[in-house]
Symmetry: D2
Amino acid sequence: MLSGGSPWSLATGRRSGPGAAVGAALNKLTAMTKSFGSDNHAGTHPAVMRAISAANTGDAVAYGADPWTERATAELRRLCGAKGEVFLVLNGSGANVLGLGLLLGRHEAVICAESAHINTDECGAAERILGTKLLTVPAPGGKLTPELIASRLSGRGDEHFSQPGAVAITQATELGTCYSLAELGKIRDFCAANGLRVFMDGARLANAAAYLGCTLGDLAEHADVLSFGGTKNGAMGAEAVIVMRPADAVIAPYLRKQHMQLSSKMRFLAAQFIALLDGELWLANARHANAMAARLAAGLAGVAGVEVVHPVQSDAVFARLDPQHIAELQRVWIFHVWDEATSVVRWMTAFDTQESDVDAFLASIATVTGARTA
Amino acid sequence: MLSGGSPWSLATGRRSGPGAAVGAALNKLTAMTKSFGSDNHAGTHPAVMRAISAANTGDAVAYGADPWTERATAELRRLCGAKGEVFLVLNGSGANVLGLGLLLGRHEAVICAESAHINTDECGAAERILGTKLLTVPAPGGKLTPELIASRLSGRGDEHFSQPGAVAITQATELGTCYSLAELGKIRDFCAANGLRVFMDGARLANAAAYLGCTLGDLAEHADVLSFGGTKNGAMGAEAVIVMRPADAVIAPYLRKQHMQLSSKMRFLAAQFIALLDGELWLANARHANAMAARLAAGLAGVAGVEVVHPVQSDAVFARLDPQHIAELQRVWIFHVWDEATSVVRWMTAFDTQESDVDAFLASIATVTGARTA
Amino acid sequence: MLSGGSPWSLATGRRSGPGAAVGAALNKLTAMTKSFGSDNHAGTHPAVMRAISAANTGDAVAYGADPWTERATAELRRLCGAKGEVFLVLNGSGANVLGLGLLLGRHEAVICAESAHINTDECGAAERILGTKLLTVPAPGGKLTPELIASRLSGRGDEHFSQPGAVAITQATELGTCYSLAELGKIRDFCAANGLRVFMDGARLANAAAYLGCTLGDLAEHADVLSFGGTKNGAMGAEAVIVMRPADAVIAPYLRKQHMQLSSKMRFLAAQFIALLDGELWLANARHANAMAARLAAGLAGVAGVEVVHPVQSDAVFARLDPQHIAELQRVWIFHVWDEATSVVRWMTAFDTQESDVDAFLASIATVTGARTA
Amino acid sequence: MLSGGSPWSLATGRRSGPGAAVGAALNKLTAMTKSFGSDNHAGTHPAVMRAISAANTGDAVAYGADPWTERATAELRRLCGAKGEVFLVLNGSGANVLGLGLLLGRHEAVICAESAHINTDECGAAERILGTKLLTVPAPGGKLTPELIASRLSGRGDEHFSQPGAVAITQATELGTCYSLAELGKIRDFCAANGLRVFMDGARLANAAAYLGCTLGDLAEHADVLSFGGTKNGAMGAEAVIVMRPADAVIAPYLRKQHMQLSSKMRFLAAQFIALLDGELWLANARHANAMAARLAAGLAGVAGVEVVHPVQSDAVFARLDPQHIAELQRVWIFHVWDEATSVVRWMTAFDTQESDVDAFLASIATVTGARTA
């Protein structure tokens, strides 16, 4: 497995700039190893692919006035207990920026964790598109608390200070942890008492529901607007923005269009959700991915030189290990170095990660770290 | 065919607002008639669907660092003679706003036809996302000319006036016409001489190439940045932004991300273009759609009470007829009233429109207008 | 007077670009002739200057928490019958963009006359700062009507179309005309019935009140938010944004700050309004400027070759005359060519225009046009 | 002096919201004590006021095409050694946002200290107007270093990360400290080597020049664009944006207009700078304010219970003292609590602070803290 000379020896798994010639490498590699780089390195779940094909039956009115969209959004609304509406969009940044846009006054700012995807990983889309400011807080485990939120509330009512109008939380978080329902309840209550709206970035909402053993509705009731991510759960590329109250949905169709998130052949987005919702495939997919992360974490327990740094509560394992060991592993395996300064990596599983993938990866890790021979 | 009581009697073919319950109607209708409402009422071309499925082979690095994206963008670059780069995006508005964003200085405005899609049909996305102003010109047949462009150039160098930095043209236009290569050359030369950049909205670029009998490169060389639309040509949902010169591409990756147009599982966008480019399927699709529009126009020649109001040079027929006749036709057929004031409708064909669809539609038109019995 | 060789022979009265060396010319010229170029070519009314000096009495808390601001805003609120609040800003564009920002939803557009200052003369500030679209209408005499407004309302509720949320009118208009109170009432009623808010650009509100013989309150009651311009009325540089209802004022302090319109030493803005409001100086100034424009228009009645093209209802005279005559006049007099294509010029008076200035200007016009000898 | 019942007992010196009725209090108070709340609590220097009055000599062409503006900008250009141009604007936020706008690509972000005025005190104007993201760094004493800047450079070239294009430094800083010329040189060199532009917020540039004993040119050469603040130095309200290289100035006139920072009667802004530059009044004012702060700091040396927390290098003294002592002092004196959590206050002097003001304030402090009797 640790054959030298892999073209991935320097790969970050992220596009490293225009023209990075990784294509050939990828072809070779994907035949060999499962990526632990991201849950969106996985392809499309076969049932989703079938649903997309099945939706290809002649004409349908564009932009969502079709029966697939009607069915998918109605079902999502029902599952989330939303009295408002559901809007399908094209990707996760699109869901986040639309969701925040629905909750923010023209002048308002957003309180979020420093580690929030909207802060670290969207190239400043929220600032660029909404003109808002992100008031960030260092948040252990990626989770905000009423106390942390309160720490960014000074200056309310003073025109010189940015005025927070919404709090953005991510469930499951970017660090692989989950808010408990009790924690969510405290945030919701604090926000309600302080005139703050709650947006929940649910790119991995399924993983949180699977981990907590709760319904989507149990999670949704703690937010004013939330997203439900299909893409990382086995969709080809589809996200839903769920607006809990009708009043917050009024401008959503227009904002979605202005944000370039309105798909013309919408039925193909809707079909993806129909497949994921059918027979609770979304839950099975999330449970499986979570189980694979748990298996990986469990396997690491016996490995000296690897420290799991966050509770493993979804489909991600964050671990600290020796930089040289990281480099050796990246010769064969695809994953991200999360923080070079602290030598922490992120290993992600997906709906299609196999037990054998995890075991092979664990064996490599053990070999590299010298914990035991392969 | 003119059976009464169709639930489409009031249908505009556009979503008429949240909750419009058109699903059931659609199911019934699509079994009966081909939509002439839009080329994006059509589904996905079977070859495109196969390519999407074929790309679903395990893992691939996300965000475009995959071999499908490499192949599709390389091929598009070659076909267009672009020395810059190609960026795949999620829909037409995304392509237009990204393309303009690459060409505009922070303070600059855009000159475009009043009938331009960016002006009439994108809910003000360009203004909202780019903060730019559209300096519109009434343009016969939807086509700008150097003279029309010049009419919006007064005030350059005066800080009180909006400063045009780019000209946006659509090829084929929103009115179904095409710029000839000579016309494009005059615009390009005028713009070059006047410090203006050219953006070409190519949502229907294939139809223009098919009509003009030219290559994509013949069209691309008249623009600084252009889009090449897959969606209206048989894709499921994919557009390409082609940047002709390297310098204009530098900020494109970041702007695409900020504009929420970066797809994570990019290979599924790329696969669509691979299918369209393979064996020039894009050209065959466009030729067919154009031929169906031509057949429709030809059939209208003998119909009293129907006036074709623009040259039919792509996949659209714009016609003026009696408002009551429009209403009767809309009981069965799906199409847009383009301008209620002048009683002009738009009838569009697509890659999958059949001769029999056109003939049945013509028969209905004839019956309704009383020109001849069905 | 028509001595040749004036350095103003090519002057437009507008800065024609960086480095335009007009300083020396100006020094010579201002000793000779009164500008008819703009009401902001005039200086500061002596009473305003005295009030500014008088406010310079040691310390005052910054940003408006001072007694001058309290007095000025309270008085403006009273005069306009505003139940909301008054916000002082730094210039006319600042007032317009703030006012519109208070009335527009995040996604909304503005209906205005093509000739509106916000459309023609602010370099696209509204689009740039608010991300809004201006839906323009050609408006005879610069005045909107319910019918003209209605012409831009198609597509409401359709997410593809820009959604107008406010109507912007200018009183007095950019073409020197005034809406009658009856006309304003019709617009207000139409807007109220159609879910549109009304913003009134009152850069020359004083001139309108003077012309109509009505109070500021009579005008203000037709708007949701309006501006009251000090600068063109004799202030050094101060405008007020008057918010008629408290709910619309809630975000104004924050938006004013974000728009960089919050003055730190606010008392010096407030003092200007205090002077203008004291003894109705604003009204006297406006009446005088209007009277000078009327005198000019009356004097033109007997001049062949000069056609007044808009009713003279404030401090501006728009006239059509031979391009060569325009060029000759501009050798000595400062004024704007409003529309080169139609050979229309704008001649403006101000609070400090003297009867002798008007008469001298009329004599020049007569000489140039050959109507009579000087 | 410590008479009870002052209406200022709870005053923060900032407007605490709409309707705060501080007017009467202020009238009483300003007769008694000098504010240590802000250098913009001071009025206008008499020489500036005279210059404003002197500029009120009949007509002048608007928007800066006047001899005062020509003179002021030429002199500022000369003093700063700028090969580009100088643009007068209306306030400090206007200068900052314009300056950054000239240096940032459409997609770029700004690196700045957490304590930067643009981050803490402008209500998110930079994000709102420019759509940029501020990448903040905790900076001891408010001063960035190459190392601190470098800490925000990870992710360059990766489209998911915000891309810093400019570094914003403040000189003198918001914490009353000054960058030495050597420190500025290191930042300039680091930025040049790393493709970063430098914006220098010079709201108190005069104080820095006075403290360092250097010329404006010595400071300006370390920036690509800088501001030179008039308002805190004795102007009524005027700031200059100095663009060091011609290429960066090209879009400035348009951006200034779009940002609503173009004054119509510009001569009155220019006259303020003419007065400040005449006989180096700006330097005398800054030296005096600095000396008063130094006197205050020196006087505190002997006061137990008061800890000066930043080097006093301009016109501000930051001190930590007991919260109850702060409250007692605020019964009579106006100043800001800078950080309630750490019980740190800011005391500012101004061009018109008298030695006797400082001494009286010191006496109060001593009394309150019990260090010695008054």
